[in-house]
């Protein structure tokens, strides 16, 4: 492995990488070694056009762009010399020549690389008195993205993303020189399942998502790491939290899982967290057959009583449980403990299968399908079979994927169950037939460990509190187990 020296620091690098890539590989880029850059992006091919990443390399005359200069053993790089500083200041000055003074009304303000670098590497005052170019300020590029042509610094990340990553190629640069503008090709819209990533990678406020535009000023956001729950890829996301609520997801880079991207559906799935159909309160069916809201303790008592009665009367063999691919490993372990205590063997996983693609989207719609399988929750077919044939008396079900047309479809088959305990985050048709419904927490509200489709184990912490009392599924399950334990121990259970 070649070694290069950057500002006196030895860095071991991989053959064939460029200086910027090598710094990124070593985790030093903008975190130990500052080489400001616009066009380079770890998920895209080297472009070499913004010319901001210039560094001095001993032995090579002139300044070199770090993003496209291949490393060589023994190379000595300087990133803080006067020449480098002057060159950066020159580029920053030129980038601002035509830039509108929009910061007060720009959505990017606060997370804008032009602001940041101008502050860090630019000169104090502007020397240009020339008129700035006037262009279109609100160009809808498609259903998800709006372009402000004046704010664009023409780094072409968006263009290259659509060519290199999605292969859809909707964007191009029209005209040339200082008349260049980003445009969609005639008759084409920026409309692909990953389109909103361009807003993430746009270093300035030129590309904004319709979803987040003008919603919250970003300096009110606290960015907390999370994982998308949309599919078995388990893409890493940042949860932008303000006023106690998740306001957006943006892609969080993880080269082992999702690179720098997330799909649009996953990005918008933050909406599920504060969705109006969240299950806000426990529900218990009364003697009169009506489901009413109740305190958690009451609901847990009702569940305990029903499960105990069922097992006493029919034994654990008539009870089954269905786990969900949205549960964390901790939830699944708690469910396993409960089932072991109850002596219940019949357990399966309700997993919705859908469309996948060859970029990120996985056909398994649940972030922890692999974790659930590893915890012993497998094919639900035997349980579904028994449900349809009336061969079960009781069911504990987590989530409501069971109602998906490819699984049970309708709750009708559950009508005959003596006991149906539901633990869920969102409301569903299961309420029609459930005896006890207990609200659980969304991943963003509890954190936990997940295993993605490739077997990568990922752990995240809670990012927000639920806006209503809701208890993590693992805790609910443990409390149930505890409540059931003494009696079962007496009856010869495992204690």
């Amino acid at each position: 492995m070649p070694t290069i020296t950057v500002d006196g620091r030895q860095v071991r690098v991989e053959e064939g990488r460029t200086i910027l890539q090598a710094l990124d590989d070593a985790g030093l880029l903008m975190d130990g070694v500052d080489v400001p850059h616009y066009c380079w992006h770890p998920g895209l091919a080297v472009d070499g056009s913004c010319r901001l990443c210039q560094v001095e390399v001993e032995g090579l005359g002139g300044l070199q762009i770090a993003c496209n200069t291949p490393v060589a053993d023994g190379m000595v790089v300087h990133t803080t010399s006067d020449r480098v500083r002057d060159a950066r200041a020159g580029v920053m000055e030129l980038l601002l020549v035509n830039h509108p003074l929009d910061c007060p009304i720009c959505d990017q303000a606060g997370e804008c690389k032009l602001q940041d670098y101008a502050f860090e590497y630019g000169a104090a005052g502007a020397r240009t008195r020339e008129p700035r170019r006037a262009l279109q300020k609100r160009v809808p590029l498609g259903p998800t993205i709006v372009l402000d042509q004046e704010r664009c610094i023409l780094c072409r990340r968006c263009v290259r993303f659509c060519r290199e990553v999605t292969g859809t190629g909707e964007l191009g640069i029209a005209n040339r020189g200082d008349r260049s503008v980003i445009e969609t090709f005639p008759g084409v819209e920026l409309d692909n399942p990953y389109s909103m990533n361009v807003a993430d990678i746009c270093p300035v406020g030129a590309l904004t998502t319709r979803d987040f535009r003008f919603k919250v000023r970003v300096w009110f956001l606290e960015e907390r790491p999370g994982i998308c729950t949309g599919c078995a890829r388990g893409c890493n996301v940042w949860l932008g939290v303000a006023h106690g609520e998740v306001q957006r997801y943006t892609a969080r880079r993880n080269d082992r899982v999702n690179g720098s991207w997330i799909c649009d559906a996953g990005r918008l799935s933050y909406r599920e967290i504060a969705a109006p159909d969240r299950l806000r309160t426990p529900l218990v069916r009364g003697e009169d057959g009506v489901l009413r809201s109740a305190e958690l303790d009451v609901a847990l008592d009702a569940a305990t009583r029903r499960l105990r009665e069922l097992i006493d009367a029919k034994g654990p063999g008539m009870l089954a449980a269905l786990a969900s691919a949205h549960l964390t490993n901790e939830d699944l372990a708690a469910l396993r403990r409960l089932l072991d205590r109850l002596g219940v063997d019949a357990a399966g996983l309700t997993l919705v299968m859908g469309e996948g693609d060859d970029l990120l989207v996985h056909p398994e719609k649940g972030a922890n399908a692999a974790g659930a399988r590893a915890a012993g929750f497998g094919d639900p077919a035997p349980i579904l079979e028994r449900l349809r044939g009336g061969g079960l008396e009781g069911l504990i079900v987590l989530g409501h994927d069971l109602l998906h047309p490819t699984l049970l479809g309708s709750p009708d088959a559950l009508d005959d169950l003596a006991t149906l305990i539901v633990l869920d985050t969102h409301r569903s048709e299961l309420e029609r037939v459930a005896d006890v419904v207990i609200p659980g927490r969304h991943l963003a509200e509890k954190g936990g460990t997940l295993v993605n489709a490739e077997g990568v184990v990922q752990e995240v912490a809670a990012a927000v509190e639920p806006p209503f009392p809701a208890t993590a599924q693992a805790e609910v399950l443990d409390r149930l187990a505890e409540a059931l334990a003494p009696r079962l121990a007496q009856a010869g259970g495992d204690g």
Partner: protein, 432 residues
């Protein structure tokens, strides 16, 4: 008679006045294609590269890169096809030499192409002709067709066993498509935007394959070098810059046009003796020695040999040898306006410094010309052009910055007078 014949001819142009020189028969009758026969049948590619290297031939496309050395970068044992590109985009303002060679000596250029292709083991040559040069492209295509029919090109070129074909493509009107990698992008059907280097064309060129890009005139010298030997070539021109070149003289001179003269011929000799000096009894004010991209020289500095080694000492370059003469009625701020306008218009716009710098330079010059400039603007002109230099994907930004630096260096009074008087002090200058 062909209206653009050179006033002074040399080995490159000696038969260009004769109409049948454009035909295969006419070219052969004057000794044409013998050099290629010799190279392909009797020499190895290495021999040809060695001869051209020994001749000291420098590229005539503007950068003056040693041709033999460029050829030596090509793989000798390629794992697939290699290509030669003949750069016939000639778009440098002040430059009009390649057009003559294409229209009046197409077989000579083709012969140079075949020898160059053999030396670089290229199986195909793409001739990229400036879009406006439709006549040149037509003439050249006829010559290619003649050579195919005669077996000069084809699977067994000149019966040597070397296979080669030539494809003529036409540009669509962008100066930047003359830059070798902008050309390659355009050739492949994309927008003409130069490629970052590395990789260099000799590694990854046209259609991803090793490629050499040579100017039309460069290739036209090659048959003469092979026929007469490197020593003969070195006997012309200067020690460092051998051979003749085609100087194009335009602007305020009595006899504008082409002059084939040895490199190292003095600029004042070309302007005053050959081109007859400035008409109407006026004086020379400025001369751009090598096409619009090169810094201008003031009247007092024309005693310079036209070769890179000597021009460099005066802060300018030979470029494409396009000499533009301006008389003493000329407003150098207006010249700066048209120059910066040209580069602003033609910048491909990828690189920050070039995209924004060309526009800024132009706006500054316009404002100064309008009489709205300030002293500080001159410093901004200097700093902006300095920021553009040596820091971009291609040399276009340098080409845009250098002339401005030249105008400021030698004609600063013109700029200062505009600022002081708050108007243009040259009412008789050309109109913008």
């Amino acid at each position: 008679m062909y209206p653009r014949l050179p006033h002074v001819t040399g080995y490159l142009t000696e038969h260009v006045a004769e109409d049948d020189f454009v035909t295969l028969e006419g070219y052969r009758a004057r000794g044409g294609w013998l050099a290629a026969e010799r190279a392909l049948r009797e020499m190895s590619p290495e021999d040809v590269v060695d001869q051209v290297t020994a001749s000291g031939l420098q590229g005539r496309g503007g950068a003056g890169f040693p041709t033999g050395q460029k050829w030596s970068f090509m793989p000798s044992d390629p794992d697939g096809p290699s290509y030669l590109v003949c750069n016939a985009d000639e778009s440098e303002p002040g430059s009009f030499k390649d057009r003559l060679l294409l229209e009046r000596a197409p077989h000579k250029v083709l012969e140079g192409i075949l020898i160059g292709a053999f030396a670089t083991r290229a199986e195909k040559t793409f001739v990229y002709v400036r879009g406006e040069y439709s006549r040149a492209a037509d003439v050249f295509e006829s010559a290619v067709e003649e050579c195919r029919t005669a077996g000069i090109l084809g699977r067994n070129a000149l019966g040597s066993g070397f296979g080669h074909d030539v494809v003529v493509t036409r540009g669509a009107g962008a100066y930047i498509c003359g830059e070798e990698t902008g050309l390659l992008e355009s050739l492949e059907g994309r927008k003409g935007m130069p490629r970052k280097k590395p990789p260099y064309p000799a590694q990854v060129g046209a259609f991803g394959r090793p490629t050499t890009v040579n100017n039309v005139e460069t290739l036209a010298h090659v048959p003469h070098i092979v026929a007469n030997g490197p020593e003969w070539f070195r006997g012309l021109g200067t020690e460092e810059s051998p051979g003749t070149t085609l100087f194009g003289v335009s602007g305020h001179v009595s006899r504008p046009g082409l002059y084939e003269l040895p490199l190292g011929t003095r600029l004042d000799e070309i302007v005053f003796e050959h081109a007859g000096g400035v008409p109407g009894g006026r004086k020379v004010k400025a001369v751009i020695p090598g096409g619009l991209s090169m810094p201008a020289l003031p009247a007092g500095q024309l005693d310079v040999p036209m070769a890179n080694e000597s021009l460099r000492e005066r802060g300018t370059f030979l470029g494409t040898g396009g000499i533009i003469v301006m008389d003493d009625t000329t407003c150098m701020v207006r010249v700066a306006c048209v120059t910066t306008w040209f580069f602003r218009d033609e910048s491909c716009g990828q690189c920050t410094q070039c995209r924004e710098g060309t526009g800024w330079l132009h706006k500054l010059c316009e404002r100064i010309e309008r009489g709205a400039g300030e002293d500080a603007d001159l410093d901004v002109l200097r700093d902006v052009s300095a920021s553009m230099e040596g820091q971009t994907i291609c040399a276009f930004a340098d080409a845009a910055a250098w002339p401005v630096q030249g105008f400021l260096r030698h004609f600063r009074e013109d700029f200062e007078a505009h600022v002081r008087l708050a108007k243009c002090p040259f009412p008789a200058s050309f109109e913008l």
